[in-house]
């Protein structure tokens, strides 16, 4: 009969890999990929919106302009706030 215990590594034999560090990287990579998927979905939606404008032979309405500009400003503010927070937490001058 095969000695199964010989095939199993003891804890000391196992390399001291830091699972949390690998998980942290994978979480970050997943976050980036999820971001890519979100960006793609956002751009697809925008593309559809512009296609509709082209098909109806019109330019964006005042309401559409208002919405897209508000979105851009909000995104810029959120991004800069988040970057500032990170710098502040890292102890760097803001």
């Amino acid at each position: 009969m095969t000695d199964m215990s010989a095939a199993l590594p003891s804890l000391s034999e196992q390399s001291a890999l830091s699972v949390p560090s690998v998980l942290r990287f994978l979480n970050l990579a997943l976050g980036i990929v999820a971001t890519g998927v979100q960006v793609r979905a956002g751009l697809d939606a925008l593309d559809q919106e512009i296609r509709r404008q082209v098909q109806s032979g019109r330019d964006p309405t005042a309401e559409e302009w208002q919405t897209i500009q508000t979105r851009a400003e909000a995104a810029h503010r959120r991004l800069q706030d988040a970057a500032r927070d990170r710098l502040a937490r890292g102890g760097k001058d803001v």
């Binding site: 990287f25 793609r40 925008l46 851009a72 800069q80 760097k92």
Partner: protein, 223 residues
């Protein structure tokens, strides 16, 4: 040597969480790049990843019956490697974005401007989510923040040009609708703002592309 029972380290290959993450990541990458479209939600992908990991676990269990020595993976990626890889992935995302630009759909200058501002909004919103992720390295967060600062002036300039052009266009349309001949000054101003809008578009498009280029330069400066 007696093993430490409190030792919480284990080989990477033995972590089910890591395998599930790797599979979810692979499926996510394939979906994001458009290579496959499984029409699955994020939860469904994670469920599938769980099942695949369970299957792989059973397979590894069987394989271990025929092996004598444990699998010895390499060293875990250190902080520098993680940062470099994160930047690489973000750069890939930037180039991917450039490739699937929606501006080609637009026909008129106003539609083009709308596409550029919209693209910026989508990109900045998701970049903010990346920065808010505590696992994103500080260097990456800083690089994204700086790259955004470079792109933002072109976007605001374009927004201003759009506003001025739209206001003058409306004024001209209202005059024409009421049967009045528009004054030359208005026609000239409209032509000028049209040029301004065109220049704004020409500047905003590369500014968005520079988002990824700036990240690359920052990475080179730091390495």
């Amino acid at each position: 040597m007696q093993s430490d029972p409190n030792d919480d380290t284990k080989p990477v290959w033995a972590s089910r969480t890591i395998w599930a993450s790797v599979i979810t990541l692979a499926i996510g990458l394939l979906t994001a790049t458009g290579l496959v479209d499984l029409q699955l939600s994020e939860t469904e992908i994670q469920d599938w990843a769980g099942w695949i990991v369970t299957g792989l676990g059973a397979l590894f269990g069987l394989l271990r019956l025929f092996t004598k020595s444990p699998v010895r993976p390499g060293r875990p990626p250190d902080e520098k490697a993680i940062n470099a890889l994160a930047l690489l992935l973000i750069l890939g995302l930037g180039f991917g974005l450039t490739a699937c630009s929606v501006t080609s759909t637009a026909e008129t200058p106003q539609q083009r401007a709308y596409a550029l501002i919209g693209t910026y909004a989508v990109l900045a919103q998701e970049a903010a989510t990346l920065i808010e992720n505590p696992d994103t390295p500080d260097e990456v967060a800083e690089a994204i923040g700086l790259a955004d600062q470079l792109a933002w002036p072109a976007i605001t300039a374009l927004s201003g040009a759009v506003h001025r052009y739209a206001a003058l266009s409306d004024e001209l349309a209202a005059l024409e609708a009421s049967g009045h001949t528009p004054p030359d000054a208005l026609t000239i101003a409209l032509s000028r703002t049209f040029d301004e809008l065109s220049v704004g578009i020409l500047r905003a498009a590369p500014a968005l592309q520079q988002f990824s280029v700036a990240l690359n330069q920052l990475r080179e400066i730091r390495s």
